[in-house]
């Protein structure tokens, strides 16, 4: 319980604090303090205003810089490079020379017939990554996944070329991971066990083996299987991909034989330049020595 003395003490203490604050400084000192204090306040207010102005100007300049860089990147075609860090199929990530233009620009989407990737350099670049034609053959797989019937019908009615390229990598990356742990042999067994496959499904699997998993032996087997079944609407592209798989596997003579019709322009110039470039490269490098690892 609070005693009256303590309550009184608290009141007196409050009064003492009130009086002390009220009578602490003589008027002259108070006036001097006030004037001095105002100078300090004025100086600090100006300083803060100046700092804010500087921050604003720097911010505007930074913003202009970012906008300028963005505009430059968009104009020079580097913007997609900057923003394409999200997961993409390994085949596409590792295709710097073929999948990009002379200045590293990503090639705009074109129809397969018009696709003419930059010829491979003189050096043997193929074994290091997916072939320059890896990208075009991704699209059919996507089309197969999304609307196979419509795509197959349209393709058979129009032209023998593959379907236009689109956002294939995303759909591929979604479908492929659960099976990545299987070996090529297991996958082949699994494929056979599942019964006869539709040509489109074979094409899709071959494409995945080739450009996503980079299992060229499995891919070659599936390309052969696809072509053995008549090939369907994507036979020409499958034939070219098969040749690429042979190059990857360093089956020199077979690769030369497979590329020769393309290089000779037997398919209306389809992949002619790429095939010629590959042939030049194969002739330059010669057949692999037996001890050379594949």
């Amino acid at each position: 319980m609070t005693s009256p003395i303590r309550a009184d003490l608290l009141s007196r203490a409050a009064r003492a604090l009130r009086d002390e604050a009220a009578h602490e400084r003589p008027d002259a000192i108070e006036a001097w303090q006030g004037m001095h204090g105002w100078h300090d306040v004025s100086r600090d207010v100006r300083k803060i205003a100046r700092r804010r102005r500087i921050v604003f100007i720097v911010g505007v300049q930074l913003l202009a810089l970012v906008v300028g860089v963005g505009a430059w990147a968009a104009a020079s075609g580097r913007l997609p490079d900057l923003f394409s860090r999200h997961p993409a199929p390994a085949g596409r990530r590792a295709a710097p020379a073929g999948a990009h233009g002379r200045h590293g620009r990503p090639r705009p989407p074109v129809t397969p017939a018009a696709a003419s990737p930059a010829p491979p350099p003189a050096g043997p670049v193929l074994p290091e990554g997916p072939s320059p034609v890896a990208a075009p053959s991704i699209a059919p797989a996507t089309a197969v996944e999304s609307e196979p019937v419509a795509r197959a019908t349209a393709a058979s009615e129009t032209s023998p070329g593959p379907a236009p390229r689109s956002s294939a990598p995303r759909s591929l990356s979604v479908t492929s991971p659960p099976r990545l742990a299987l070996s090529a042999r297991e996958r082949a067994v699994e494929t056979n066990r599942a019964g006869p496959l539709e040509p489109d499904e074979i094409y899709r699997q071959a494409h995945r083996e080739h450009f996503v998993r980079r299992d060229y032996a499995a891919a070659l087997a599936l390309w052969d299987k696809y072509l053995a079944g008549g090939g369907g609407s994507l036979a020409l592209e499958a034939r070219y991909n098969r040749a690429i798989a042979l190059v990857r596997l360093r089956r020199h003579e077979e690769a030369l034989a497979a590329l020769a019709p393309f290089a000779a322009g037997e398919h209306d110039g389809y992949r002619q330049q790429e095939a010629q470039a590959l042939l030049r490269m194969l002739h330059a490098t010669g057949p692999p020595s037996p001890s050379e690892p594949r």
Binding site: A14, A16, L17, E20, D40
Partner: protein
Amino acid sequence: MADDADNEATLVERLARGDEAALRDVYRAHRSALLRFARRLVGDAAAADDLVHEVFVRLPRAVRRMQPGAPLGGFLIAVAVNNARHHVRAAARRRRAQTRLAQEPRAPSGGTPDGEVERRQLAQALSRALDQLPLDQRVAFVLCAVEERTSADAATLAGTNESTMRARLFHARRKLREHLAGYHDEGGS
């Protein structure tokens, strides 16, 4: 009365535009009252000066948040309350250091007929006791008990409601009585 309100509204408008002359006018008109409040709140002259300085430096931006028609003096106190925390801590640290060093031995009570020393000692004891309180309760006590404002007025200044302010004041008083209980035992008076 209406003229005063108009003048103050104009002043606030000029302040919000960053008019330095307006800030100077406000400083001259309100500094003393604000300093007294700050002195009571933090219990230390130097810390009170710092707090007042900070309030006026922040005022040109803070005034943009001011409700139209609110008294400027009350708004300044509200800004001071919002910025008082580290000044209160600084003042409390200084008082603790002084206490440890025992630089100011307490004079025997009743030594001066006018009770000046007694009053000063009591004020210092209260400041030390206030250091033990949370800032909210400290603000409540200073506004209501020291400055003798109504709880509604204090609640407005502290940005809370009246019942909360009363509760804070109640708890503050209870704790302060406990802290001041030893004042007589220590030979205060």
